[in-house]
Symmetry: C2
Subunit: 251 residues, 2 copies
DNA sequence: AGAGCTTTGTGTCAATTTTACACTATGCCA
DNA sequence: TGGCATAGTGTAAAATTGACACAAAGCTCT
């Protein structure tokens, strides 16, 4: 993790930020890595926010998103995809958000457009990093999130929607699972992303037909029930498949 | 078309613009409304560009896109959807683009993030408007476009892709057709958007099953062959359908 | 050691959807 | 009136989907 010279001679652009919806999967449900801003001075308002920051004038948007991601998680080469740009002039209508910005921004009143990204990470790979701009970060189950700072809740909804769409077309879910996983875990992952129950046998049939899983000759250990076979994602077969293209991956 | 007071007391934001990919359909192929910037001083470089402009600090992104659209086409309430944000620092690497910006921008060297939209309009509804910042605008078949100013070609590709995806999920294509149209025209539209031939009978079966077309008891006139029945889009049935949701609209 | 608990893993059948494919009908034009 | 161009229509085979139930494996507790 060495410093590059990227930022030398470069300025923060006060008008454009990136925010990241970092999805994880705790083998039970879909979660998001959120910043806890700590006690809000004015006493009320949501404490949780998406990680994000202003961009530098010499980096492109993807780089900015990767930078935010790396600052928070120390992870690089993570699945990252743009959700879109958000920029209501009254984005910062909550008093608590105003106050917080004063503590971290040079121009807290500037009109900011934010470009949202979502990323998929393996929770196990994440190690908390020291952060100047937040008390700490935590994985929060998506289903429990009711409000967020700024327009972050809206961004989260759109990110979820985009993830839903995307997973029907490409098997990107593997970015959320450990290298070795069971079909039940994969099943559960799809259910929590699509937010609806999927028939077990039909799911297995469908996923197997894609032919992108390699069965390891290895079983789960130490579970108090019949151990499951472990699988891994087969990148090569997936690459083949993407060439021919596949639409029919709907559930 | 009356002036509002929107812009009073408001400033252009030198760092954020919107660009619009305005799709049309000439009953043969998909087209895009492009600005012809006229002779480029330095002699080379693409003349064509997407319509777009900087945003005002008091309008949101959708409003800005609608404004650009209205300035160019005098149309309002048009189908409009965000494609995403584009913002390479070296977005403006063509000399011809630099020179052009000098003629239209107060801060031609500023680093600009642009938010791209695509919109669908009925070509017949379009009447050219006088434009201060461009010689004129023209419908260009998508298939003929090989290069554009800035990163507009890349934006166009992504807009096409998004349109492709979207039309598989929602029948937004109707925004491109006249009120009365034939099934063959609709067929041709889908082929040109999806960029592949579709079986005539299968297409008709599938579209009919959606049950969002009303057959008018009216035939085409003056065509030198068997005249086709005319149809119109049935908004009500479509609304019903969107409630239940429909995934299966793949071709 | 055995009973009980929990989760894994598996097959079939009916209904629906998809794909491939060719000929007649209609109206204009020459 | 014959020729031309496009509209409009059906079927059969193959593939996909959806619904559904029970035996097998390993742990735990007694």
């Amino acid at each position: 993790m060495h410093h590059t010279n990227k930022k030398i001679g470069s300025e923060l652009n006060p008008n454009v930020s990136v925010d990241c919806v970092i999805f994880g999967f705790d083998l039970e449900q879909l979660t998001v890595l959120l910043i806890d801003r700590g006690e809000i001075p004015s006493g009320s308002g949501p404490r949780l926010a998406l990680p994000g920051n202003l961009i530098y004038d010499n980096e492109n948007l993807d780089q900015a998103a990767n930078r935010v991601l790396a600052e928070l998680t120390a992870l690089e080469n993570i699945y990252l995809e743009q959700v879109g740009a958000f920029g209501d002039p009254d984005r910062i209508h909550k008093e608590s958000d105003r106050e917080w910005l004063k503590t971290i921004r040079a121009e807290p009143e500037a009109r900011v457009i934010t470009v949202a990204y979502f990323s998929l990470v393996q929770m196990a790979h994440y190690q908390p990093q020291a952060l100047s701009f937040a008390k700490n970060a935590d994985w929060i189950p998506v289903s429990e999130i009711k409000e967020l700072a700024f327009d972050h809740f809206e961004i989260l909804q759109e990110a979820k929607e985009k993830l839903k769409q995307k997973i029907k077309i490409q098997p990107i879910g593997f970015n959320l699972l450990p290298e070795k996983f069971t079909l039940s875990q994969l099943h559960r992952l799809y259910e929590s992303i699509l937010d609806k129950p999927l028939d077990k046998r039909n799911f297995r049939r469908k996923i197997q037909k894609l032919d992108i899983l390699s069965s390891l000759r290895e079983k789960q250990k130490g579970v108090p029930h019949k151990p499951s076979l472990l699988y891994e994602f087969n990148e090569e077969k997936y690459q083949e498949l993407t060439q021919t293209g596949f639409d029919n991956f709907g559930f």
